[in-house]
């Protein structure tokens, strides 16, 4: 029997096949990642009656956006969007214990023991947290863009506070905390407990007259 040489497979069409697959994937897929601001809507109250929650006036910061996309923050008209972050941060921290800014209450938040040298050995943080709530109200004719920009500033303010806290106690970036690591996840949740995202999206109503 004559020994035959092993024949090579012609691979010339391989490139064409790969090209075909490549073009299919280029057409059928998208690259955009879903990004956005995740927020929690308040549940509708169980009983039909309007629930009157008594909140001290100083604890509420009302942010209004009118139909011309102008802002009114805490009764002052004409605030610019880029000032909002500062105002919100001051509102939530109240560094000078100003009687017109929100009250604070003492709170204990448990961090994982030994996670920070600045915390007592048992890991319990005792400090003052704000009772402040931001109430965001808009007109039916406010543009979505403006609404989202305002939301973004409010979220940015709270994120900044959390970030500062995280930097101070753990020398880490809040956004870099690894949610798959149980200790870091616990830290992130505890920080979220210290600075709550107290932004309420009010029941829609018409502000500023006709629509």
């Amino acid at each position: 029997m004559a020994k035959r040489e092993l024949q090579e497979i012609n691979a010339g069409s391989m490139a064409d096949i790969a090209f075909l697959l490549l073009i299919f994937f280029l057409v059928a897929t998208t690259m955009d990642v879903d990004t956005g601001l995740t927020r929690l809507l308040p549940p509708i109250p169980e009983d039909e009656q309007e629930q009157e929650v008594k909140v001290n006036k100083r604890n509420v910061l009302v942010v209004l956006i009118n139909r011309n996309d102008q802002l009114m923050v805490g009764g002052e008209f004409g605030t610019r969007v880029d000032q909002l972050k500062e105002i919100t941060m001051e509102f939530f921290t109240n560094p000078t214990n100003d009687p017109t800014l929100p009250e604070k209450e003492t709170k204990e938040v448990e961090f994982p023991p030994g996670s920070s040298p600045l915390l007592p050995p048992d890991g319990v943080w005792r400090g003052q947290v704000s009772k402040g709530v931001i109430s965001l109200q808009n007109d039916r004719s406010t543009t979505y863009q403006q609404y989202l920009k305002v939301q973004n500033e409010l979220v940015a303010a709270v994120n900044q506070l959390r970030q500062d806290f995280c930097k101070l106690y753990f020398d880490k970036d809040y956004n870099d905390l690894n949610m798959n690591n149980p200790t870091e996840k616990e830290i992130a949740e505890a920080i979220r407990d210290v600075y709550k995202m107290n932004i309420s999206e009010a029941e829609p109503k018409n502000i500023g007259g006709l629509n």
Partner: protein, 164 residues
């Protein structure tokens, strides 16, 4: 002189293409890994807002999409140019009351999820930047009534805003 004049009249030299499939496969794998399948055809025009604090949406299986915007150019003859709501891949027609359609949509989407994840459903709101909030408020109220409370205002990352 003729020392360097070889191969005259032999035509252009052939390029070795044996590594071409490898290169193409590499590209193919890159695209397979880094992209996701197109699932819905967006029939409304949406210009996303750009903000700085965006987060990525994890777990796509929990996400349903609500689009609000003016109908795309080729559909304006059919639907006019008033803002419309699109739920996943279906435009809400004139006949349906939008808020009821949204509530039905939520119930329908929730049915698709496994029992333990039913309360983790995320509604992603993709809304054109010029839409008046009235329409958005209606949808938000409908979502509250349908107990779909986790929402995500879809937005693009604004990189210029970062340094502030």
């Amino acid at each position: 002189m003729s020392k360097f004049k070889r191969k005259k009249g032999q035509g252009a030299q052939k390029i070795n293409t044996s590594s071409l499939p490898d290169i193409i496969f590499m590209l193919l794998f890159f695209f397979m890994v880094s992209t996701t399948m197109r699932e819905t055809e967006v029939q409304v025009q949406i210009t996303p807002t750009e903000v700085s604090e965006v987060k990525k949406l994890e777990q796509k299986s929990l996400v349903s999409y609500i689009y609000i915007g003016r109908p795309a150019k080729h559909l304006q003859g059919l639907y006019g140019s008033e803002p419309m709501i699109q739920l996943n891949d279906k435009l809400v027609n004139e006949e349906g009351i939008p808020t009821e359609a949204v509530q039905d949509f939520v119930l329908f989407e929730r049915e698709k999820l496994p029992e333990i994840e039913k309360n983790k459903m995320v509604m992603s709101l993709r809304i054109d930047q010029d839409i008046p909030m009235g329409k958005v408020d209606d949808v938000k109220q409908a979502l509250r009534r349908a107990k779909a409370l986790i929402i995500n205002y879809s937005a693009r990352k604004d990189y210029e805003d970062e340094g502030r």
